[in-house]
């Protein structure tokens, strides 16, 4: 007797035994829940891809200056497509990448198998760092400098698309925002 839209017919419903179908499912589902929790924690210790916890407060001015200093020091050539500086900081060093309406700059050149400390911040509104075709995605904000250690494991030309809507009009906008990273042997 009873429905879901009438009060429980047994006023003492809390003491009713649970049927076997439900018991088995609850046990199995809960075991999987615990496993997933453990795996997510465990990947921080054994997995090679994890979120960095390092971040600092900054300002667009301070961050622009770091980008400019790096660019002045490590520019190696001009990009063929755009004529802009290509910056190749040494392995293990701090690399600065600025997001702004509507580009990521500077263009970077890295070495495969080497680790870099990538600093990212925005000079205006919120943006998203989306490395293609690897499909690695982070949020980038004005006022916050996130530091992630990256180790490219493939060579080639990688593009950075914007993953967070950042305004814009027809010719220029969120949908035209790109940056580039070259990875060589």
């Amino acid at each position: 007797m009873g429905t879901s839209y009438t009060p429980p017919t047994n006023p003492d419903w809390w003491r009713e035994p649970i049927e076997r179908t439900e018991i088995w499912w609850i046990v199995l589902a809960f075991a999987w829940c615990l496993f997933m929790f453990g795996w997510m924690v465990g990947w921080h210790f054994v997995g090679p891809q994890n979120m960095s916890n390092e971040a600092y407060k900054t300002t667009p001015e301070a961050f622009s200056k770091k980008v400019a200093d790096m660019q002045a020091k490590y520019t190696v050539r001009k990009d063929e497509a755009t004529g802009e500086d290509v910056v190749s900081p040494p392995p293990g060093s701090d690399v600065y990448l600025a997001a702004m309406q509507w580009q990521f700059r500077p263009i970077l050149e890295l070495q495969k198998g080497q680790k870099y400390r990538l600093h990212m911040s925005s000079l205006d509104v919120g943006h998203g760092f989306s490395l293609q075709p690897e499909n690695i995605n982070f949020q980038v904000y004005p006022g916050y400098e996130q530091v992630t250690s990256i180790t490219p494991n493939k060579t080639g030309v990688f593009s950075i698309a914007c993953g967070e809507y950042c305004g814009g009009v027809d010719a220029m906008g969120h949908h035209t925002m790109l940056g580039r990273i070259y990875v060589k042997e």
Binding site: M1, G2, T3, S4, Y5, T6, P7, P8, W14, E16, E19, R20, T21, E22, W24, W25, A29, W32, C33, M36, F37, M40, V41, G47, P48, Q49, M51, S52, A81, T82, I107, D124, V125, G126, G128, S130, P133, N135, I136, F138, Q139, Y141, P142, G143, S149, I150, N153, A161, G163, E164, Y165, G167, V169, D170, G173, H174, H175, T176, G179, R180
Partner: protein
Amino acid sequence: MATTTMSDFRIDPVSGLKIHKTANTLVKWNAFAAVVFLLVGGLFGVGVALTRMPSVQLLSPELFYMALTAHGLVNLAVWIIFFEMAVLYFLGAHVLGNRIAGPKWAWAQFWLMLVGAAMVAVAVLAPLWGGAPSSVMMTSYPPLQAQPHFYLGLILFAVGALIGCFVFLGTLVVAKREKTYNGSLPLVVFGGVTATVIAVYTIVSGALILIPTFLWSVGLIAHIDPMMYRVVWWGFGHSSQQINVVTHISIWYLIASLVFGAKPMSEKVSRGAFLLYILFLQLGSVHHLLSDPGLSSTWKIFNTSYMLYLAVLASMIHGLTVPGAIEVAQRRKGLDTGLFTWLRKAPWGNPIFSGMFLSLVGFGFIGGVTGVVMSVEQINMVIHNTMYLPGHFHGTLVVGTTMAFMAVTYWLIPVVFQRKIALAGMAKWQPYIFSLGAWVFSIALMGAGTLGVQRRHADITFAGQPLAYEYPEIAKGLMDLGEIFGVVMAVGAIMYILIVLASIFAGEKIPEGSAPWPKVEDADVVAERTGKHHVGMWGMEAPGTFILAMILFATIVLYYFINFKYLSTIWGLS
């Protein structure tokens, strides 16, 4: 407080419910407003879909961003919350045979939400008549700034919804005091209470962040920290979607009883699962913050897992107990052979059932499985803000919530509007067409997102950029395919709207005292009569449902590890 007399009520012959006429009028107006907004938002959705097909690109970027902002707000907030107000009043008044508390406040809810939605519409659509745009998307992240009346409209809308929540809670107090029911609240009303608790949390979060943002937009506050905004805003943005989940799960339980005469397998288990939602579901708002700077992994992992995945556990429980209740009822009514006879012989031509069951299966397999996997802190890095996101949340909000709301509408129209469903032949097909569109749309977009396509892009070809980038051809193909099925989904939605409008304005009137369909017998009553007390096999009352649940389980496990495999091939990140 005004006293009520019997003339304020009518007894509905369809359901046997004692219906308070004022409450009924409020349910009608909120549901009607919801459907009108579904139409408006859906049309913007078609504009978005036709622009994101790389081979069509209908709208200019400026109009695309406007349409996307409008589509998100109208369909994610306005349609859903108006319908939820109708559902809450129905649960508090109709289901409990009760009068609505404070009808004037309830009307304030309706008008505030309507005026708020209109203000937001004026702000968002301003580019159409040359005004300043507010194309900041539904998330409106600062420092992007909309017009002040954009935020003010949202605030009014939210205040209206908050009033509605308290009218519902007040209605429960009245029912308790006037003893319109005995014992514990019915399960579906308990689900309504769960939704309301989450709604209050949600709306307060929204107010906490939108009020300062409004003051910022008029120049009274100098700076809104973009991270602080995101942390608080998602307490509103994500939790509002949890209200939907709880509401549509309540509707599943309701329909199982209405169509099959089923009772919950265990009141304790189902209510316990709702309680887990109250305790843990809101932690999920961190899903949107997993790739943000300045928040620690410890904090992210605790929250993104809803503390040991206890809210996921709750959803997995409901996913079993709803079809389980149907199976047990069907078996008690004599369909006690084999594993799936109960399901095969279900009324697949009845859109109330077919819509509900499609919502259940689609929500589990499409929205649910992907939601669990994408909210892993590390996996999030390879899907965050790609087309995977719109794919996923159409798999929850459209495949699940919207389909369930549509299904229950086919039952509500005879009860609330006292009209038969017009265009019944079309109604039979509507859930299938809508679900076909929504399912393929969701899956194709998630495929494109896995291949890197970013969300909220007016043009995914990066045309004319010196630093060109082209997504893989297959990703563009998936976008074309997905958006074609987006149009199929829109056709299904338009069918629904036509059926609703035709029914309430031109449907055959149901005379007082007669029912449009025979009353469904309580499965237990049938079992009593036929002496069928033990059903099922393997010592389980619902073995078929258990097999279906195992298929879901295998899907989650497989999909989880496929994603970790994919993650393990990308650049090292630490």
